[in-house]
């Protein structure tokens, strides 16, 4: 029971990744190691105390003349928010690994390595209080995502991976340049030090260098979170990964988006145009994501665009900038991870069973796979924000928050986009499950994989519990948001 557990949240997945990769010849061993570590990951946050971990034991130094405190080493800070997201990520990672290990008789060591590298990178992004460390793990995350997509056996996955990598190679140097600007004007890469320097007036908020760093890191954040103009590549990545992997990929996206935007919010919340940019880009993401989803015929791509559109709600909540709005946005992030993962796995099960991804050639599947149909239906309703599921709670909070901030047009937009999400979902559900089966569709006699159904049932339980008792998550997040302002 101490703060020593904090670095272990990153170190354990990293070490496990190395072991699994090194022992990839021994099939049974890596399966066991992966499952055990996946069980351990969501447990560690409960063992640890809230607090800071300072690497290398270099304690903060106080400048005796100015009274400023400097942090000479990397600091990880662990709080309620980090705990919530790491637990959710851990549960998701366990279910994803379970599906993977059940699906393939011969587990691939390097593939599990990539999954664990991604988990470690995302956890570090959440914990870190050092803006350069953020950049490093951002890059590791991008490489892990590319690897996961390149390892899938779908058509044209290499093209998508290379496109993502090239766009990333434009986006991430921009983050580094922004970090460089911040380093140049504050002399530090520790976020607490930077914030202190800004609060004490050592950095002029209107200085062009400071504003440029805001714009550059914002651009990198757009790439990390897949908001426009990167929504096409992000949805493409989701549709070219295997279904369980895309469930994990979207969780990576949501968590990296949340953690980077919270870092930016701490540094730039005094810059008024930062919040305006955030709201505008989130609104455009909502519109473009849902309109593109309405016109897709490949259902994996459709869910990919919907996932991007839903990200806009998170950005909207944080962009409004009040305690209630930030709580709503972060609660939406938690819900989105669970709901979208459930949808990806559900539609992935359909793709596995029917071998068809074009909605125009499908139909009548409810008679063959009623269990999956019902589970997909409930997750889809949760995504569209139907009461009493968890999506409804967070979207209602967002609508209230934007009304109370004096932006009724944003509440209207949120409601319209929710309705459009519902339309997308009803259209997909009708064409896939309800209308008469076309003669060309061949149904194999395979049974739905038990691990996939199990994962969806677990998600369903979380969806319903959070729908009835949102306080489990929101009280903690609300505390955190209060501390942020």
């Amino acid at each position: 029971m101490s703060e020593l557990w904090i670095p272990l949240m990153v170190v354990i997945p990293l070490i496990c990744a190395l072991f699994v990769s090194a022992l990839s010849r021994f099939n049974k061993t890596i399966k066991v190691i992966a499952l055990v570590v996946a069980i351990v990951i969501p447990i560690i946050p409960f063992l640890s105390n809230y607090g800071l971990h300072i690497f290398g034991g270099f304690l903060p130094m106080t400048d005796s003349i100015t009274g400023m405190v400097y942090h000479p080493s990397i600091v990880y800070s662990f709080g309620v928010l980090q705990k919530i997201f790491i637990v959710i990520l851990g549960i998701l990672a366990f279910l994803v690994l379970l599906i993977y290990i059940n699906k393939y008789k011969k587990a691939s060591g390097p593939y599990i390595f990539l999954l664990f590298m991604g988990i470690a990178a995302v956890t570090a992004l959440l914990l870190t209080d050092d803006i350069f460390n953020m950049f490093v793990f951002f890059e590791i995350l991008a490489l892990a995502q590319v690897g996961i997509v390149a390892a899938s056996s779908l058509d044209n996955n290499y093209e998508m991976a290379l496109k993502y990598m090239i766009l990333g190679a434009i986006g991430s140097p921009m983050i580094l340049l922004g970090v460089g600007f911040l380093l140049a004007i504050t002399g530090s890469v520790n976020i607490t030090d930077i914030v202190a320097a800004i609060r004490m007036g050592k950095v002029a908020i209107t200085s062009p260098v400071f504003l440029m760093s805001c714009g550059l890191i914002f651009f990198g954040w757009l790439y990390a979170s897949g908001l426009p103009p990167f929504h096409t590549i992000k949805s493409g990545m989701y549709s070219k990964a295997e279904p369980h992997a895309s469930a994990l990929l979207q969780a990576f996206t949501v968590i990296s988006m949340v953690s980077i935007i919270l870092i930016m919010f701490r540094i730039y919340s005094a810059v008024p145009i930062f919040e305006a940019l955030l709201v505008v880009f989130s609104a455009i993401a909502m519109i473009l994501g849902v309109t593109m989803a309405l016109t897709q015929t490949d259902y994996r791509r459709m869910i990919g665009f919907l996932a991007v559109g839903e990200l806009g709600f998170i950005g909207l909540g944080i962009g409004l900038g009040t305690q209630f709005a930030i709580t709503a946005g972060l609660f939406q992030a938690v819900n989105e991870i669970i709901i979208t993962a459930s949808l990806f796995i559900g539609f992935g099960a359909i793709a596995y069973l029917s071998g068809e991804t074009d909605t125009r050639k499908m139909g009548g599947l409810i008679g063959y796979y009623p269990k999956i149909a019902i589970l997909v239906l409930i997750s889809g309703l949760a995504m569209a924000g139907v009461p009493p599921l968890n999506g409804f709670q967070s979207k209602l909070m967002l609508v209230q928050a934007s009304l109370s901030c004096g932006y009724p047009e944003l509440s209207l937009l949120a409601i319209i986009v929710s309705i459009a999400t519902f339309v997308v979902f009803v259209k997909a559900f009708y064409t896939m499950f309800l209308r008469p089966k076309p003669n060309t569709l061949k149904i194999s006699n395979k049974k739905a994989p038990k691990s996939m159904v199990f994962a969806m049932v677990v998600f369903l339980i979380i969806i319903i519990v959070l729908g009835f008792f949102p306080g489990i998550v929101t009280t903690g997040i609300s505390q955190f948001a209060g501390g942020l302002l």
Binding site: M160, L222, I233, T297, R360, E409
Partner: protein
């Protein structure tokens, strides 16, 4: 009648969007919904300008609505701009970078 003809022409053009495969009415109605969603939501977002200047927002919303309705089959245009071509993605990415930098440099005095 002009507006009706406009909508009807737009719906006919949706057929070309779904190349290679039967076009069902659910696809066309989904695309039509997307069309209206685009017009309505872009006008709503443009309303945000009222926090800067009320008169300006009125003018912008009117002009935007007229432009969007006149160019009515919007979805084929939007879709061709958002396809999986690397060159288009990079172009829009760098364009966005330029827009962000311009807004953040010259726009921060007006927000």
């Amino acid at each position: 009648m002009w507006l009706y003809d406009k909508f009807f022409e737009a719906v006919k053009k949706f057929k070309q969007l779904f190349s290679g495969g039967p076009v069902s009415n659910s696809d066309v109605s989904g695309t039509l919904a997307a069309e209206f969603l685009l017009i309505v939501s872009f006008c709503l977002v443009a309303l945000l300008i009222r926090h800067v200047n009320i008169l300006l927002s009125g003018i912008v919303v009117l002009i935007l609505a007229i432009i969007l309705v006149v160019n009515m089959p919007l979805i084929p245009k939007f879709k061709s701009e958002q396809e999986d071509s690397l060159n288009k993605m990079i172009f829009y990415g760098i364009l966005t970078l330029a827009i962000i930098i311009v807004f953040i440099y010259w726009g921060s005095a007006y927000v």
